[in-house]
C-alpha cells in the first residue's frame, strides 16, 4: 500500500471518520499487522506534538504582547495597577 494512502486512512481512523464497516476492517488489519499498529500509535503522537507546538507558538505570541505592554511608557497606568496588586501592604 502506498504510504500516503495509509497515513490518510490512519487519519480517518483516528479522527473517527471511517464508517463502521471500514472501521472493523481497519481494526482487524491492525490486529494482524504490528507495523500498522506502530504507525497508528506514532501518528496519534504526531497530532499531539503538533498541538503542543501550536500552543507554544501562541504562548510566544502572547509573551511578546506581555513585554510590549510592560515596557511601553504609555502604558504606565496599566503597569502600576498590576504591580500594586503584588506589593505587600
Amino acid at each position: 500500500m502506498k504510504t500516503s494512502h495509509e497515513s490518510k486512512q490512519i487519519e480517518r481512523y483516528l479522527f473517527g471518520k471511517l464508517n463502521p464497516a471500514s472501521r472493523l476492517v481497519f481494526e482487524a488489519r491492525m490486529l494482524i499487522d504490528p507495523m500498522l499498529r506502530h504507525h497508528v500509535e506514532n501518528q496519534r503522537r504526531v497530532y499531539a506534538i503538533v498541538r503542543q507546538y501550536g500552543r507554544r507558538v501562541v504562548k510566544s505570541e502572547v509573551t511578546r504582547i506581555h513585554y510590549q505592554l510592560f515596557n511601553d511608557p504609555a502604558k504606565e497606568d496599566f503597569q502600576s495597577r498590576i504591580f500594586e496588586l503584588f506589593t505587600k501592604k
Binding site: T3, S4, R45, Y47, I49, R51, E61, H66
Partner: protein, 181 residues
Amino acid sequence: MIEIQSRPNIKMPEEKAQLFTQLYEEVFPKVAKFVANRGGTFADAKDIFHDALVVLYEKMLEEKEFESPENYLVGIAKHLWIRKFKDDHRMLALDDAERSISIPEDYYEPAENRIIAVLGLTGKKCLHLLRAFYYDDLSLEQIKTIFGFSTTRSASSQKFKCIEKIRNTIQEKSLGYEDFA
C-alpha cells in the same frame, strides 16, 4: 467591556494580536487581582493568563458563536489556578458559566520536548505546515497561498508527507530509547 463590533477573525494574525492585546489590557488586571488575593505571585498570574489565552484561542476556533471572551478568560484562569495550586474549588465563588468551563483534556499531557526540539532542527517546515492545518485550523486554500503551493492538492499531499516524516522521526527516536532500556 470591550466593544467588539464584528467578531474578530482570529485566523488572521493581525486581528489575533489585536484581540489578545485588547484582552490583555482589559482582563489581565482581573486575573492578576484574583491571583494576588490568593497569595500568588506576578509570575503565577502571567503564566495562568497566558495559558488561559491559549485555551480561549482554541475555543474560539472551535465555536463560531462566541459572545464574551472576557468572562470566559477569567473563568479559565480560575480553573487553571485551581488545577495548578490544588486550591479548594469550594472556596472559590464560581458562577454557573464558570463552572461549565473545562480545560482541554490533553492540556496537561507530558511535554514532547525532545521530539519538538529535534523537529525544530530538522523539520521546521513540516511543523509549520501541520500547525497551520491542524492547530490554527486554516483551510487548504489558505495554506496553498501562505506556503506557496500551486494547488490545494499538492498542499494536501505535502501535509501527509510531513505526517509520515514526523512519524518516522518518532519511530527512530523511540527505537533509540529502547536500546538504552
